[in-house]
């Protein structure tokens, strides 16, 4: 009886102790300088993950923790100083609740965004005015635009998503849109558009594959080339924010991502557009200047 009890208590202590020990061994050593955590934008996540893996391969004992959570989470976490780098699809100035003066912006890539429609609709190009009237509900059937006789189904990304913000700002020119169904990931949006007759939505270039029809706007085709010259205006920077000037691992990791090695390999392989390819620069107010 007594032996069994002692064994039970011992087992319990070992289990708790083991758990704590494991937690201690694998604890986040960001303060020790061994690893850092980045959090935020899911659109940027694949790039940071891949770059982080390569970075750890080159620097022994250094780990880059990459977490999603959305641009809003990235910006609020970096503002609170909870993480080393906060990833965002939008400028910190554009996000409400963020005091951007402390945050330092590092633009690591550009993402083009394209309207996609179901293949059955039979349209390949739309004008800005047509897009606006599709998304505000003026048009309800593709027939009115010269397509097949199918009702229009709008699929939006979630409120506050960086892709949606960019699309509404640059493709719809800030035009008010009607409330429609929302999905919280690009992959989901694509699969819904590909299977639902008459569906329209928008995704980053890298998500627009053969299952859906990409739509040209005002006759401009959605290609990387057109993004770099700003002929295709629906694009956004991918930002990595630090709180104050980056230090230590964060600094070397940001340098690594911005280095030609990564910009010319990983960035392109994963469907982003490299910053160095851009012929124009756009500031937070939307003013475009040509880079010489």
């Amino acid at each position: 009886m007594n032996k069994r009890r002692i064994a039970g208590v011992a087992l319990f202590l070992i289990a708790v102790g083991g758990l704590l020990g494991l937690g201690y061994q694998t604890r986040n050593r960001s303060s020790a300088g061994g690893s850092i955590t980045t959090v935020g934008s899911t659109a940027l996540q694949p790039l940071v993950e891949a770059a982080g893996e390569q970075f750890s391969g080159d620097h022994l004992g250094v780990f880059i923790n990459v977490q999603g959570g959305g641009s809003g989470t990235g910006l609020s976490q970096i503002q609170e100083g909870a993480v080393a780098i906060g990833n965002s699809d939008v400028f910190a100035e554009e996000q409400s609740g963020i005091h951007s003066h402390n945050l330092v912006d590092h633009r690591v890539a550009v993402v083009g965004i394209v309207p996609i429609i179901n293949k059955e609709v039979g349209l390949k190009t739309l004008t800005t005015a047509q897009l606006q009237k599709v998304f505000d509900g003026t048009y309800t059937n593709w027939r009115e635009l010269g397509g097949k006789n199918v009702p229009i189904t709008i699929v939006n990304r979630a409120q506050g998503s960086g892709t949606r913000a960019t699309f509404e700002k640059w493709a719809l020119r800030g035009h008010h849109v009607k409330t429609a169904q929302e999905q919280d990931s690009s992959g989901m949006v694509r699969s819904i558009v590909s299977t639902t007759p008459g569906a329209i939505s928008y995704v980053a270039f890298s998500y627009a594959n053969k299952t859906v029809q990409k739509v040209a706007i005002n006759g401009v085709t959605p290609t990387n080339q057109n993004v770099t010259s700003n002929k295709w205006q629906v694009w956004s920077y991918e930002h990595m924010y630090t709180n104050g000037r980056p230090k230590g691992v964060a600094k070397s990791f940001l340098n690594y991502i911005e280095s030609p090695k990564i910009q010319s390999t990983l960035v392109r392989q994963l469907g982003y557009i490299s910053i160095s390819q851009m012929h124009v620069e756009r500031d937070v107010k939307g003013r475009v200047t040509v880079i010489r």
């Binding site: 609170e80 189904t153 979630a158 506050g160 409330t179 169904q181």
Partner: protein, 306 residues
Amino acid sequence: MDKIKEKLQQTSQATRSERRGRFISFLALILILVVVIAIFWFVAAKGLATFFQNHINVWDFLSGKTWDPSVKGANGKPEVGALPMIVGSFLITLLSALVATPFAIGTAVFMNEIAPRNGAKILQPVTELLVGIPSVVYGFIGLSVVVPFVRHVFGGSGFGILSGTFVLFVMILPTVTSMTADTLKSVPRYYREASLALGATRWQTIHKVVLRAATPGILTAIVFGMARAFGEALAVQMVVGNATLLPHNLVSPSSTLTSVLTEGIGNTVMGSLQNNALWSLALVLLTMSLFFNVIIRIIGRKGELR
């Protein structure tokens, strides 16, 4: 003599171990209490900030039809009308409970009264299996099977209350079934014997005696299922369409409290109005589940077998 006296005055080992046991269970109780209170306090503090810090009218919040927290409405206040989500949540919950109840009662009656041996052997494991399926799997099946089916049969985009109902109906069915079966099992055997002895048929016995005696328990099971349906997030979010619109019909995209919460929380910043508004939705959810608990309590107390 002294030895005996000493032994009598000392606390015995049994007493000590009982005290220790009482202390440990008391600690566990305190821990759970602290966690529950902390959750309530946190959600309430965050959720009420919408009304006290951002000065949104509570009534506007509960009855407004437009949900667009980053846009200012006609009255200069941000548009945080939660009515579409509240209506959506209630509709889905009620409909799925309505569909699930007859199936659950039927299965439970079959398992307990009609074919206890085969029922227990086959149906029990099957319903228990249903409980164990993760909700994301239900959502995935809903997305790839139910949504296209609803689209083909009823038109529209396939996303909406109806698809949500179909998915939730399967999800709450095992809960309601197994609880109903437990209640039927607890109906005393002599009720049935007395009924049969009076010349009632088996159907009459089940209908008039067993089900009647088990009614409070069955009601509790239904409310339990509704509480689960009300709180389910992931599977519903995948099939309901998440449009913050009052549902025109059962196949138009709409939203629930949970779907808007899971979708929006990552895109907002702690402390901003958009974030606080989501916490207010969470507060509504929490209040509702509290309400469901209270109902279960009341039914349980009123309907005890006498």
